[in-house]
């Protein structure tokens, strides 16, 4: 074969892809030695194959490097100490015949059987350990989610306790505000501390407002509405909303206003109202 026949025969591609038989490899290697252009063609093709392979690179686990470095460091230390045993020495033990007493043979056989048994148990137990590991991890994650759930409940409970303490005060006056004509099912309650003059509002039943709307509490003093502030209804754990304090009022009412509240109430959006005395 001349150089161009080598190049067009498909032998180079077969060689580089690992497809070539040992006869074909020999043939091509002779060609490479004989013709520099064949050699160059093989090298080029190999470089491209290596580029293809490198495109599929992936970083291995970092433990592998640690393992390898530890093993070679140990080997080098052993070589310095003269305790290193060549692998080949282990692979090809000398085959001198050694006669052993039958008792020892039985012991060796027994030890061998025990070893097999132990290997088998290792296999079984390693399977079990993996199983337990999986179960342990599952438990751990369910424990974590339970812990966060329990935190959630605790916050809720604390909020409710705080609300209870406010309502429990003996100087607390409750003002029930019933639904107005357009909103008959609406209901809310004002808790008004007669001593500290603090006012809280509790929503018993008010529809969820649109995103740009907010409920606003009003006190009617001397026939005029006084702004008591706006409140959110989204958080169900927050039973009582602290509003502005007021010394005296004849009535309380809630209207739905644009977010942030209005200077005066939109009367056709009055949901609830109730007499304070």
């Amino acid at each position: 074969m001349d150089a161009s026949r080598f190049i067009s025969s498909g032998l180079i591609e077969a060689y580089v892809s690992g497809l070539a038989t040992s006869n074909e490899i020999e043939e091509l290697e002779r060609g490479m030695a004989q013709y520099p252009e064949v050699r160059a063609a093989v090298d080029d093709c190999q470089l491209d194959m290596e580029q293809y392979v490198t495109l599929q690179a992936k970083t291995p686990k970092p433990e592998v490097k640690q393992n390898i470095l530890r093993i070679i460091a140990d080997e080098e230390t052993a070589k310095e100490n003269g305790t290193y045993v060549e692998e080949t020495a282990i692979a090809f033990p000398n085959e001198e015949k050694v006669y052993v007493s039958s008792a020892w043979r039985w012991i060796a056989a027994a030890v061998f059987v025990a070893l097999l048994g132990s290997l088998y148990m290792n296999y079984i137990y390693s399977g079990q350990i993996n199983d337990y590991k999986g179960r342990y991890e599952a438990l751990l994650s369910s424990q974590n989610s339970m812990a966060s759930e329990s935190n959630l409940y605790r916050t809720r409970l604390e909020q409710m306790e705080a609300s209870m303490n406010i309502v429990k005060s003996p100087s607390m006056k409750a003002v029930k505000m019933s639904g107005t004509k357009p909103f008959p099912t609406a209901l809310a309650t004002v808790y008004w501390n007669q001593q500290s003059k603090e006012v809280f509002v509790m929503v018993n039943n008010l529809p969820e407002p649109a995103a740009d709307k907010q409920y606003q509490l009003w006190a009617i003093v001397g026939g005029k509405p006084v702004d008591m502030g706006v409140f959110e209804t989204g958080n169900k754990d927050e039973l009582l909303h602290k509003m502005k304090s007021i010394d005296n009022a004849e009535m309380f009412a809630i209207t739905l206003e644009n977010k942030g509240g209005s200077p005066s109430p939109t009367l056709d959006q009055m949901y609830v109202a109730g007499k304070a005395s």
Binding site: S17, T54, L55, Q56, K58, T59, P60
Partner: protein, 183 residues
């Protein structure tokens, strides 16, 4: 752990032959992703591929004196060790050709174009190449290179006459090389 400086290939070889562990660490950082990629493609199993990678780097360390610079580049030598070790492992795990073919079939990321499993890969480059190869071209290259299949085995798997295996391989590799020029 990445080394801040680089070595030329002959410095690498000299360092390795002098049993310089720092050079070896550099060699690992530089080449382990490519070699691991090969082992993973052959075995299709991360744990086995990690084992093979460890075995390969120990072989490189212990047998560096057998490396002959006049016969080829260091990377080619390391690639061959990796392919051979991985394919040996593959054969010891499943000698049946069915299994090899099964593996090729399971290796879906290659044949469906879903490349997300290779995070460190130059996605664009690889997918550009793979898209333009026909399925048969990809399989014939991978069966030979990554699964160590013989011409007879490939002829059976792809149901093509034995005499055309080499021609098909040649065409596949020519196409592959043209595509690589575009990457």
């Amino acid at each position: 752990m990445e080394s801040a400086f680089t070595y030329t290939e002959s410095e690498l070889v000299q360092g390795l032959k002098a049993k310089d562990q720092k050079v070896f660490g550099y060699l690992y950082d530089r080449y382990s992703p490519a070699l691991y990629g090969v082992a993973l493609k052959v075995l299709n199993d991360e744990s086995n591929a990690n084992d093979v990678l460890q075995e390969v780097f120990l072989k490189i360390w212990r047998n560096i004196d057998r490396y002959d610079e006049s016969k080829g580049r260091l990377f080619t030598w390391m690639l061959n060790i990796t392919r051979n070790s991985a394919i040996d492992t593959l054969r010891s795990k499943a000698h049946k050709m069915d299994q090899k073919i099964q593996d090729i079939g399971d290796d879906v990321h290659l044949y469906t174009g879903n490349l997300t499993v290779h995070p460190s890969v130059d996605h664009l480059g690889l997918s550009k190449v793979l898209e333009k190869l026909t399925k048969e071209q990809r399989i014939i290259i991978d069966l030979a290179y990554y699964k160590g299949c013989t011409q007879e085995e490939i002829s059976k798997v792809l149901e093509i006459p034995l005499g055309t295996v080499k021609t098909r391989m040649r065409n596949a590799i020519i196409q592959l090389r043209n595509l690589l020029k575009l990457v």
